[in-house]
Every structure is written in C-alpha cells, then in structure tokens.
C-alpha cells in the first residue's frame, strides 16, 4: 500500500494536542511545508519538540498552534531572535520546557532505546537542571560504584516526527542526500510515527541499487508527502540554501503587529497550496537534480 499522500492529508492526520517533533537544525532542513500546513489547518495545543530550531517553531507560535515548546535553542542565528517565540514566552502565552541540545537528544534516545534514562554530562553545573526538579525529567544523579555525576535523561514520548528528506519511494524508504548530518534520526527513532516530506518520489529500484544510502527504512516512515523545495525558507543541502532575505523580511515585519499579521497571511499562511506559497515567495521549482 502506498504511503504517499498530500501535505494536506498528512497534516490532517495530526490531532490537536499532539506532541510533534520538528526535524532540521536551525536554518537547515526543517519540514517547513508540513509546518505551514499545520498552521493553515489551525492546529491547537501542540507540544513541540525542537532540538535546535528557528522558523518552524516561530510559524507555529505565530499561528497560535502551540501550547508548549521543548527546545534546546530557538533562534534565527545572526539574523536575530525568533520574534513570535520570544514574545510568546515573555508574555507566558506559550510555555517553555528548557533543555539543551544534548539533554533533549538523550531524552529522545532513552525513548528510542526503551530505557528508563540515558546518562550524559550535559547540563551539569547549569541552571537548567533546577527547572526540572519537580518532574525529574532530567535529573542529576551519582553513579554508586564510581561516584561519577551524570544527568539522567528520562524517556520523552513523541506522537509524531516531521522531517524533510530528498527522496522516498511509495513504500516509505527514505533518504537524505548525500547523508543525514543533522539529528533527525533521533526524533524519528523516538516518535510513534513519522511523516516525511520529500523533494521527490522515486522508484524502489533507486533504493535497492544503492541500499547503503538509505537513511530511514520503510518501517520507520509512515507517511510520505511530496514537497519540492519543502524546507524553504530553510536550506536543503546540497539542493538549495536558506533564504536570508525571507528571514530578514520576516523579522522586519515582526516589529509591528499589524505589519506582521499581513506579512504572515500573504507570505506564509494565506497561499492555498505549497506551490502557491512558493510562487508568492518567488521560489523557482523543478530545478533540483
């Protein structure tokens, strides 16, 4: 049975209140086409898991879709703070569960490996651990025999992972070209199910010809949604780079509420299809090899 569906149907399968993990790293390889569709469908009360994120989280916050953000870092790097994320955390409209990159990776690994916790030195001696004193989600412990201190990172259940990749077949075999360099595998391995948006659908023969290049086997990918330029305005190495102009125009618009509302409607949420969105933003399609 083919796992290929539309962005619209893939997003529709995600209920309000879900814990959604977002792939990519900072301005790279985020599943923006899927994220935009969640915004369009006005999802509510999502808990986002984002290890190192930016625009994807900001879109979902701007769209009013988010209850809580579990993150290590949310920013536009040198292009600025993520404006809606910043404002929503400052006002308390969105709750934040504070992590670092590796604390969050370790929670996902504990979930993936079906272990009570994963140990790491990450977070030792910082104020992050104190924020989790009540829940114990990440907690400092001492190894009895050696006396060494570590942080125990407990399981983090994820309802659905959203990742962007280059190619998939209809069975769900999926690959990132030339190889996965980000930590998307951590969210895929932890999630109950995964939706992959892909630049293009290819025959299974493409995978069997070069099986060493497959990133995710078909049993780890539940849904495939074709989305050329699907990480825009983030990069999808080596096919295209992030669009700094979009990031800057977005940040500029966010200085004024009315201007931003209009910008967000015109440039992000308004266009009906992903192709319409790309056209509005002057993104050329069909050029990726």
């Amino acid at each position: 049975m083919s796992k290929i569906t539309t962005l619209e149907k893939a997003a529709a399968s995600i209920p309000d209140g879900s814990t959604v993990a977002i792939g990519g790293l900072s301005m790279n390889s985020a599943p923006m086409a899927l994220v935009r569709e969640l915004v369009r469908q006005e999802k509510k009360d999502l808990d986002l898991v984002a290890i190192v994120a930016g625009m994807a989280v900001d879109w979902l916050v701007a769209g009013g879709c988010v209850r809580r953000v579990l993150a290590g870092l949310v920013s536009f790097e040198g292009l600025g703070l993520a404006p809606n994320f910043r404002a929503a955390v400052q006002s308390g409209a969105v709750a934040i569960e504070e992590y670092s990159e590796h604390l969050l990776i370790c929670r996902l690994q504990a979930q993936s490996y079906n272990l009570p916790f994963m140990p790491t030195r990450a977070g030792l001696g910082t104020d992050v651990l104190g924020l989790h004193a009540e829940s114990g989600a990440v907690r400092e412990e001492k190894d009895g025999p050696t006396g060494e201190r570590y942080v125990a990172c407990t399981r983090l259940p994820v309802d659905v992972a959203l990742v962007h990749a280059h190619e998939a077949d209809e069975r769900g075999n999926t690959r990132v070209n030339p190889k996965l360099v980000w930590m998307d595998n951590e969210i895929v391995n932890a999630a109950s199910r995964t939706v992959a948006s892909v630049e293009r659908v290819v025959d299974t023969a493409v995978f069997t010809a070069e099986p060493e290049r497959t990133t995710y086997p078909r049993f780890m990918i539940d849904t495939v949604a074709p989305a050329p330029q699907g990480a825009y305005p983030c990069s999808c190495f080596p096919d295209y780079s992030h669009d700094s102009d979009f990031f800057m125009a977005y940040s500029q618009a966010a200085r004024d509420r009315e201007t931003f509302t209009q910008f967000f409607q015109e440039r992000v949420a308004g266009p009906e299809t992903w192709e319409d969105f790309l056209a509005v933003n002057n993104v050329a399609t069909g050029v990726s090899a």
Binding site: S100, A122, D127, S241
Partner: protein, 265 residues
C-alpha cells in the same frame, strides 16, 4: 562596524581573530556553533599559518572544511567546501565531543561572569523574562565536555560581563576553584578575547584576569567596562601582540575575503 586599532595597521575584528588564532596549536581539534565568525576565522587562519595540523569541523559537521568564503550562517553548508568528511551530529559529533576527541570549543553568551560561565537563555527572571533569548543549545552541553574552552565578545561592557548571571546556561569554571575537577569535567576556559583586552583565568580562583590590553586601552577602562572585579597579573600588563603582515594578508584575502566576521560588530 569595527574600529581601527591605534598604532597597528589593522582593525579590532582582525586583532581579535589573530589573538584567537595564536592561541590555537597543531593539536587543536575544534568545531564551531552558531554566530561564531571570530572563532571560525581564527581556526582557518591558524591552520594557514602556525598550526597546519589543526582540525576544524565546520558547523560541527564538515571536517577539514576550507570554504572559499564565509556566508551569513556558521551553521550552514556554505561553510563546508573542501571538507574531507561530512560527519553526522548524534553518531559522530556527540561521540567525539563527549569523549573529548574534539578538545577545543569557543562559545559566548549574552552575559558572561568572571568564571567564564555564560547565559544565553533569559535576561531578567526566568519565569518572567525581560528578554527571552535563544536558549543554551549545544553550548550548554559542551562546557561540561570540552577541555579547552575559549570565550570571546565584541561587546565588552557591564551588560555583557556581569557579576551574577541571570541564568547559567553553560558552565565555564562553574563556582571557581576546583569545581570542575570535583565534577570530573576536563580542563576549562582558557582565554576570553574581547574588543578591549584578553583575559586568562587566575589558576587558583579561576576568575578572569587581564592577560593583555589592546593598544590604547587601560586597565581602568577594562574595569569600568566589566561588572565584576578584574584581576591583574603580577607586574605590567602586556599589550596584545601586533598581527604580522602575513597574518593580516591571509585573513583578508584567503580566510575571510568578504569580511563576514564584521557580522559580529
């Protein structure tokens, strides 16, 4: 914009890059995080001058990268040209980092304290922040793992260099003294390179100490720009060494011909 360094034929960004570069050596095995233009230039310059064996993983991914120019993100593929390996984040990077196979990392915060601890999480109370910052990211983890930590700042003022952080996102020397040793953390912060001076860390207390002053800057000016007591070395404070013509030429023409480093100024 960066400013000319009085008496030296270079600008402040160039002086900082060269000071950073000279702290690197042939056994440096480094990587970089976000908005790290000064360290990235420093690694590439060191490799082209006195430390040809230096390892640098661009964006913590592209080992031995040698990009023709630096783009607007130090986490993006524009930095990966010429790499001998594209490593994967969890399997490769976090293994090399936790095992200290990578031994050098440079980070900074919106706030830094005398012990080289950093805050990149909130300004103001955590529960009711005046400014929500990006968060600790990987920097928060790596302070506990990497033995040679370098800090830098192009905004040396009392808002950046504070007595008390509003939030400790990442650990430097922690509470000072033997804190890292007690926590079984390797090494610790070595230098902090700013637009006024270079700090090292006094060996017993692990507090920042003036190691050199940039030309035209006095110790009094550094103290005024610093929210904690600046320790002074025995004897005179040296002046930060002058970059050579060779270093400046390589930096300007080969390492960073588009002056991406000015994004930090």
């Amino acid at each position: 914009m960066s400013t000319p360094v009085p008496g030296y034929d270079c600008t402040m960004d160039e002086l900082m890059v060269v000071a950073f570069s000279r702290a690197m050596s042939n056994d440096t095995r480094a990587f970089n995080g976000a908005v790290s233009f000064i360290p990235v230039c420093g690694y590439m310059l060191a490799r082209r001058t006195h430390a040809p064996e230096l390892v640098w993983a661009a964006s913590s991914i592209a080992v031995d990268a040698d990009p023709g120019e630096i783009g607007d993100s130090t986490l993006s593929d524009s930095l990966w040209g010429g790499a001998s390996m594209l490593s994967n984040s969890p399997f490769d990077f976090w293994t090399f980092a936790q095992g200290a196979r990578y031994n050098t990392f440079a980070f900074r915060g919106a706030q830094m304290d005398a012990y080289g601890n950093v805050n990149n999480t909130v300004i103001g109370p955590y529960d009711n922040p005046k400014v929500r910052l990006p968060g600790g990211g990987g920097m928060a983890d790596l302070g506990a793992m990497i033995p040679r930590i370098y800090l830098w700042s192009s905004t040396h003022n009392p808002r950046t260099f504070v007595e008390h952080l509003h939030f400790r996102s990442g650990i430097g020397w922690g509470d000072g003294g033997d804190h890292r040793e007690r926590m079984a953390m390797p090494g610790g912060p070595q230098l902090c390179i700013t637009n006024l001076c270079v700090f090292d860390f006094e060996p017993a207390s692990k507090r920042m100490r003036l190691a050199s002053l940039h030309p035209g800057v006095t110790a009094e000016q550094v103290q005024e720009a610093t929210g904690f007591e600046v320790l002074l070395p025995d004897g005179d404070v040296p002046t930060t060494a002058q970059p050579t013509d060779d270093e400046l030429h390589i930096l300007r023409t080969e390492v960073d011909p588009t002056s991406a480093r000015l994004r930090e100024f």
